[in-house]
Every structure is written in C-alpha cells, then in structure tokens.
C-alpha cells in the first residue's frame, strides 16, 4: 500500500511530464460525484448526438389514436396528447437543452470575457463604464429582463437562448474582470513584464489562460442554470415553439394532464433535473480539480 503511494508522489514530482490540465483531470477523477456528473452529462450528450438512432419513434410522429397512453413496453414513458412517444421526445429534447445550455453559455462567456478583460486590463474610465453596465444588468430582475428581450425578439428557442446569454454576460464579465485584476498582481505577470513582454502578449499568453479555470467552472454551472432558465421560458411559452421537443415546453404542454396523465410531466421534469444535476456535479468536481482555492 505505502509503496504505491511513494511511487505516485515520486512520479508527480520527478518523473512523468504532467501538465496542469492532466493533473486537473487526475484530481477530477478522484471525486466520485464529479465522475458521476460527467457520466450523466456524457450520457445526455450521447443522447443528443445519437438521438435519432436511439429514439424508437420519430419526434413528431403523431398518432391521435394513441393519445395519453400510460407507460408500457411499447411506450416506455407513455405518450402525450398527440400520441407521440414521450421517450422519443425526451431523447430528442436532450439535443435542444444541451444546445441551449452550451451555446448560450459560450455566447455569454465570449462577450463577458471580452468586456471583462478590457475592463480589468485597461481600467480607468473603460472599467468604470463597463462595470457600471454590469451593475445595471445585474440589478435587473433577470427573468424580467429575459422576458423583455424575448418579447422584443419574439418567442423562439434561439431568442430565448440570446436572452439567457445576455443575462449571464455580467456574471462572466465580472468574474473575468476580477480574475484579470488579481492575476495582474501575480508575480509571474510582474516577471513577464520584467522580461520586456508587451501588454498584448501578457494578456493572451498569461492572463487569459490563467483566468479560464474559474470560467470553465462557472460555465459548467451556468450551463445547468441556463437549461433551467430555458425550461422556465419554455414553460411561459417564451422559449422553444411547437413541435420542438424542449423539456420545459413539454412540461408546460403537459400541465393540464398533471392529474390524468402524470407521466407527461414526470419524465421531462426528471430529464431536466438529471441533466442539470449532472452539470452541477461536474461543475463542483471541476472547481475542486481546477481551482483548489475555490474548493470547499
């Protein structure tokens, strides 16, 4: 037992070339919860990619004669009011939710990063303006902001996605800004300056890569909340439009059957919960692995 230990410590310090990412991966693997989370996420990603092969029935295949059937061998999750196979729709729904989660978060990360970096690195009035803008956006009741944006753009999945991206921008912007501010004080930035490096290179070679870990962590968690937010908008009728099998929309469509056909509500709800749980678990794991300082 202790021999093994000795070897690994030795390896880490003197032998193998372990990059910071590899080490993070190593740490990540150690957390059971994180691995479970990653497993769930991977599972849903597979569903999203191979949905059309997995789903026993077409996503919009209506069969009004088989409306609201309870779960059975033929329809594992039952059918909805169009007689569509809920299992198939939940499977397809993974694609929609993951798409919303990933793309809205990527959108807010990109915009937030640019603003955050500019604010954090250049400081002064640029910082003041951008920071005030963040303050303003943060002070907005976020759901109302999303609703207003969707009202402007028209309800659709894409617009819900844009609205979610917008409301998340200040979170990432602030995160990056504060990270940039703190990294700016790090001694290795000082030493980069000392070797005569210019701002641009410092920004892109040193500051940016080092500010990314909290962004990745935050991003993973933000995907989780984006999925919930999209479902909320879908529930209010402001997200995906019929017949897109978006989970939130499925829930809102199923509301009237809560009593008579509860399976129409239970499975999409569980799907949301599981996916979000997966991302949350993974985010926690990533935080522990990538950002030991944020560790609990």
């Amino acid at each position: 037992m202790s021999e093994v230990v000795a070897n690994t410590t030795e390896n880490l310090t003197t032998h193998k070339e372990v990059g910071p990412w590899k080490e993070a991966w190593h740490n990540f693997k150690k957390s059971k919860a994180a691995v479970v989370g990653a497993g769930i996420v991977a599972f849903f990603i597979i569903l999203a990619i191979f949905g059309s092969w997995i789903a026993p029935q077409g996503v919009n295949e209506q069969n009004l004669s088989e409306r609201l059937m309870a779960p059975s061998a033929k329809h594992w999750f039952g059918t909805d009011d169009f007689g569509r196979d809920i299992f198939s729709r939940v499977v397809y729904g993974a694609r929609v939710s993951l798409w919303v989660g990933f793309s809205s978060v990527i959108g807010s990360v990109i915009v937030g990063s640019i603003l955050g970096i500019v604010a954090g690195y250049y400081g002064r009035w640029v910082d003041t303006i951008i920071s005030r803008l963040f303050d303003i956006l943060l002070a907005f009741p976020s759901i109302l902001l999303a609703i207003s944006i969707v009202a402007v753009l028209g309800p659709s999945l894409q617009n819900a996605l844009i609205a979610i991206a917008i409301i998340n921008v200040p979170n990432f912007g602030r995160l990056i800004r504060s990270k940039v501010l703190s990294i700016k004080q790090e001694e290795y930035i000082m030493s980069a300056k000392a070797i005569g490096m210019n701002d641009f290179r410092i920004l892109f070679r040193h500051i940016l890569p080092n500010s990314m870990t909290p962004v990745i962590v935050q991003g993973t968690l933000a995907i989780a909340s984006a999925i919930i937010e999209a479902a909320g908008l879908g529930f209010l009728g402001l997200g995906a439009q019929a017949p897109t099998p978006e989970w939130g929309k499925m829930l809102s469509d199923a509301r009237v059957y809560l009593v008579n056909a509860p399976w129409t509500m239970i499975f999409p709800g569980l799907a949301i919960m599981l996916t979000v749980l997966g991302f949350n678990l993974m985010g926690d794991g990533l935080r522990d692995a990538l950002d030991p300082k944020m560790k609990n």
Partner: protein, 334 residues
C-alpha cells in the same frame, strides 16, 4: 458610515439612470402598440389614434423619455396606461405581496440552509453531510415551477392540507393596512386570519426557498470548512473551548460573510424572479404585475416596476455591505 452610505447612494444614480434608459429602450422595442392592446380587438383606428395622443405616445422617444425622467424626479412613477391608476398608489400592494413571500421564503432558506451547512461542515463526510448535500444539489437542479406544481398537486389537491392559490381566504379577506398580511393580521389581532395567511404562504414559500436554501447550505458548508481550517479557530480550540461554541461563535461569524453576499443576491433574485411561482400560486405579486404589464405594453408600469425592483435589489446589496462592516470590524467604510 453615513458618509459611506451617502457615497453608495450617489453611485446608485448612474446605475438607476442607465437602468431607466435601458428599460425604456427595450420596452419600446417590443412590437405592439399599447393603445391597440388596451382598446382590444374591437377598437377602431380613431380610438387608437386618440389614445396614443392622450398617452403621449406620438411624441418622439426622447421627449417621452425626458418626460418620464422629469416625472421620476418629482417622485411621479407615472400612471398605468390601462387602468389609469397611478403606479405609485398601486405598486405597494404588489410589492408587499412579493416582499412577504420572498422574505418568508428567505427566512426559511436561511434558517434551514445555514444550519444544514453548519452541521454538514461540522460533521463532514457523515451521513447527514451526504444527505444534506445531495438534497442541496437536487435543490439547485430542480426547476421551481415543476416543484411548485408538484407541491400544489401533492399537498393541495391530493392531500388537501394547504391552500394552493392566493394569499388569504377570499371569503374572509384581510383588511389591508400595510399590505404585509402577517403584520396586518397581527395589528388587528386577527390571529385566526394570521394562521390562514401563514398556511397560504407555506407552499409558494417552499417552492421559492428551495434554490436559495440549497445554495446557502452549500455556501455555508464550504465557507465553514474553510474557516474551520483557519488559525483562529485552531487558537480557539487550543484554549480548550467547546466545539459548539467554537463553531457557532468563532467560525460562523467569519463564515457568514460570503454567505451574506449570496443571501443578498438571492433575495434580489427572489424579488424579481418569483414570476413563475407567482403564476402557479396566483400570488398577486410584483413579478406577475410587471409580467402582465409587459403583455399589455403598459409602459409606465413596466418602467417603474422594474426600476423599483432594481432599486430594492441595489438597496439589499447596500444593506449586505453595511452588514459586512457590522460583522467585520476590518471593513471600514470611509
């Protein structure tokens, strides 16, 4: 301290001003003419034109904006285009409904969340810790509308333990004084009504409290774990202090600071974000009020509603900051 508060309030001005501008522009970008919405499908063109003129909607936007700002400066929040009632007179009852709900929810979330977090940290890796953290994780992963509906269905429809809509018994309505019904019933000595009011609060408050509760529990736990590793906790233990006191006196006070931030943020979110809960539980709150106003294009209500929510949000943050300095003597606001 007063100086600091003054400074913070001054800093608020540009934020709120920017806010009014953004809200103003966004809602005007929403397609749909308020006049038409108000008059309905039957309205004639003339009626619409007349109403537009009357509402000042035929002015250029900047005139409308400055008009609105001018009103704000004199404390005039405008009047609802639809009901013609001044926003300032009607907004309080909605705000009070939401405040009561979210404060109640927040207290639930804080009491349960903080204690669960402490106990989890104290007995790290115990079964309690695991269970609490699993609950907390699930808590942040559940869409609240789904939770609300399930709660409504289980405890309202199926078990019939709790009412599922509104704030009071419609048959025996509370006489509103402050519009905070808990207060109102107490003031009036109507304890029978107080119980009814509390019963109405339970389901929506729990639905609303889930997420903050989970977040607070997680935050408290991690913050406590960090603080418990700190030197001063070790010092306290080295004195021979009891663990209970070490935790609730030395550690908690330090650990609560980051939790306070979260509480402030969540409180803000609850205020504006309760729309889904308010919809499901027919809670006559401000989220719903503004949401409806959006669908009616009731510009003054949207503008002022959002502004007030934002104002409260920043005030909560200010209060949180002030609390910091009360708790932490190192933070001196000049």
């Amino acid at each position: 301290m007063l100086h600091y508060i003054g400074k913070r309030l001054l800093q608020l001005i540009p934020v709120l001003l920017g806010m009014t501008f953004i809200v103003f522009m966004i809602i005007r970008a929403i397609p749909g003419d308020p006049a038409k919405v108000i008059l309905g499908q039957q309205a004639t063109k003339e009626a619409v034109a007349a109403l537009r003129a009357n509402l000042g909607l035929d002015n250029p936007w900047y005139i409308q904006y400055f008009h609105y700002l001018g009103g704000l400066l004199t404390g005039d929040l405008g009047e609802s285009m639809r009901t013609k009632v001044p926003v300032s007179t009607e907004i309080w009852s909605y705000l009070a409904a939401t405040l009561e709900l979210s404060l109640f929810a927040m207290i639930l979330a804080i009491v349960i969340g903080v204690n669960a977090g402490i106990i989890s940290a104290w007995f790290q890796n115990s079964w309690f810790d695991y269970t609490a953290m699993v609950f907390a994780l699930v808590g942040v992963s559940v869409p609240i509308f789904w939770l609300g509906l399930m709660g409504q269905w289980t405890f309202g429809t199926q078990l019939d333990w709790l009412p599922t809509t509104g704030r009071e018994d419609t048959r025996d309505p509370v006489t509103a004084i402050t519009h905070l019904y808990i207060l109102d019933t107490i003031i009036q000595g109507r304890f029978d009504q107080l119980i009814v009011v509390l019963k109405h609060l339970i389901l929506p408050a729990f639905a609303l409290a889930t997420i903050p509760m989970a977040i607070i529990a997680r935050m408290t736990r991690s913050s406590m774990l960090e603080v418990m590793r700190s030197d001063y906790v070790r010092t306290a233990r080295a004195k021979g202090q009891k663990m209970f006191i070490v935790i609730y006196k030395h550690a908690l006070k330090n650990a609560i600071i980051p939790v306070l931030t979260v509480i402030g943020l969540q409180m803000g979110l609850l205020l504006g974000g309760a729309i889904l809960t308010e919809t499901i539980f027919s809670w006559p709150g401000i989220g719903r009020y503004v949401y409806d106003a959006i669908s009616f294009r009731d510009y003054p209500v949207i503008q002022s509603g959002i502004l007030i929510i934002a104002f409260i949000f920043v005030m909560i943050n200010l209060i949180v900051d002030i609390l910091y300095s009360v708790i932490d003597p190192r933070i001196k606001y000049k």
